[in-house]
């Protein structure tokens, strides 16, 4: 394995971790919104407004945490 292979494997793994964390934390939902708006030709919300709506939705759907 060359140094370049190792580097590309590390970069891929790093990208995977970042993708996972963004998906898991919900950060990636903003990207989804932008993509959807672009696909349908709508003007996207501001980030602030989008996140506010998202947190209002969480307000009504409580997440349970187990013992």
């Amino acid at each position: 394995m060359t140094a370049a292979d190792v580097r590309s494997a590390v970069v891929r793994a790093g990208r995977g971790v970042r993708w996972y964390l963004r998906e898991w934390s919900g950060e990636a939902r903003w990207d989804d919104h932008l993509r959807e708006c672009a696909a349908h030709g709508h003007a996207p919300l501001t980030r602030r407004e989008f996140e506010r709506r998202r947190s209002d939705a969480i307000e009504r759907n409580p997440v349970s945490r187990c013992c």
Binding site: W24, R47, R52, I58, P62, S64, R65, C66, C67
Partner: protein
Amino acid sequence: MSTTYTRDDTGPARPPGGPAGRRLSVRSVLVWTAVALAGAVAWTVLALSRGETVSALWILFAALCSYAIAYRFYARFIARTVLRTDDRRATPAERLHNGVDFDVTDRRVLFGHHFAAIAGAGPLVGPVLAAQMGYLPGTIWIVVGVIFAGAVQDLTVLFFSMRRNGKSLGQMVREEIGVVGGVAALIAVFAIMIIILAVLALIVVNALAESPWGVFSIALTIPIALFMGLYLRRLRPGRVLEATGIGVVLLLLAIIGGGWVQESALADALTLSKEWLVLALVVYGFVASVLPVWLLLTPRDYLSTFMKVGVIVLLALSLLIARPVLQADAITDFAREGTGPVFAGSLFPFVFITIACGALSGFHALIASGTTPKMVAKESQVRLIGYGGMLMESFVAISALIAACVIDQGLYFAMNSPAGATGGAVESAATFVQGFGFDTSAQDLAAAAAAVQEPTLISRTGGAPTLAVGISQIFSDAFGGNLQAFWYHFAIMFEALFILTAVDAGTRVGRFMLQDTIGNVWKKFGDLSWRPGNVIASAVVVGLWGSVLYIGVTDPLGGVNQLFPLFGIANQLLAAIALTLVTVLLIKHGKLRYAWVTGIPLAWDLIVTMTASWQKVFSDVPAIGYFAQADRYRDARDAGQLLAPAKDQGQMDQVVFNSTLNGVLQSLFAVLVLVVVVNAVVVIARAVRAGGLPTTEEPAVPSALVEPSGLFATAEEKRAQADHERLVGSGGGQQ
């Protein structure tokens, strides 16, 4: 099975549920034989070693090999043959997609969400307490229980709820079993939740009492979370990872800062009694329940989940590096005699009750119905998320058991026996544990407390401090650097943080439940945005668990000793309701011949919980039976005597009241569950006679999604996905 595939089938036969169950290749036969052999060797070492040094890694290997085989073969059998998951059917996430609760989610991400929701303090605390019976009973039940009961429950509940658009457990019981069972289940769920919240809070109180270091660092999590909340709302909306990164750094500083505070003039002000901590927790729970979630709950949740997953990974790694040796016996005398000081009762049924969540947790049924099923992309993924998620939880329980079994066992009993038994001082505690045959001296006990910089470790019951001592020992062995005190408080912080997250999330869920139920008769109350309703419902829920918590904290006999069995039985009874529901559903769907898959764990769980309930209610041994205990103290009180550990007449009254209350609650739970079971038996009898009954399952709608089913996509699945994306255009997500 009588299915036959004829030779003129075009292409390979495909049962619903994905690619055909082809014969195993030579390579996988070899791999799985090796896994089975490794597991068998590990189990043999554990079972046969007596009086010699046994490495804790044998427990780890025995568990991991067993999980792998169970996931590969048993979970697959349940998903494909029993449930018949069908990837041609659209899931509710696909059909009802709204981007809010119904949302197609990548299986690996959903696995993370689901695991974060089910994993809590239970699997960490239960095994620690069960260690009083030795390492073997706990290990066997955590592994066997999860494979045949816990993971099966999570998987089947998730599947059936998914087929019903993510209906809740209570709703499914009402619709599939009957109104009587449904009402009983609703009351049971609510009451059990209150007990669970109270016991969780009790663990935190016991971990923080008289510990200025712990109080300081935990108290700081509140301003840290508020800061993160405001950061995400006002400064940089949506940058969750950034905010969480800052939060974690601040959290670590708070732990380090606690060490300085302990040495400073502030220490006295932060040395809180248990009563003050109860008040603080009740106020906190109430405020957290009425504040908007973005301000406190959501950021705390991010913090606690990152800490939780981080510590679990770190613990698994450091076990491999430190390779600790088990100090506990395989089976102690307490397992046979039932006279252990940590909790009373013999191995059967109490080891099963005490371990609870790590092997089978009824609470998971509330999460496997409701939130998770609305996000599953493909039906076959329930095996990974439901069964796999629970295997992970069981692994956490195994790690906790190891942590409790590698510390000096004299210290273990000095920490976990109630103050009434140890006398609260190092000298009396040393005498007490020497009575069990340990050679732990008063100096040893004092040195153990000094090593983690706590004023004392005597009678620090509840499991959390013991686990923290175990973790700090393993981490310092693994990473060196004389940081035992830091690691101890790090572990306390991690436990307290996610217990508090469970308490505030639970309070909120309880509040919604109450508002929803009362909303049926008083419409205005059910309106979640009506302030007075929120405040009243929050106050009721907090008031209920707060009073049980107060009772536990002031109990002369030791709150954990008295309440933990109630908690364990409540949780296992909830599991009985869930397993009853899925068994009824299998039979209603005409799958009587597979009903054993959930029927056997149900029967076992009922035997365990009903025996335990019976003993807790009717046993005439005062240490076990709540009413016998109340009688004993009442008779003594009426005769004008004092019985240890009560110190005055008031404490005598308290024991009488608490034991009676615990006995009443215990009976109530058992009766509610029996109502559900009896109602279910009626439905089962009808379904068996008719060969099946209609259910509320949603009709099949064809799916347009192509997604892999396991954790890693197979070559075949990748090809199918690529083909599909070429046809419809990429959705843009990373594979």
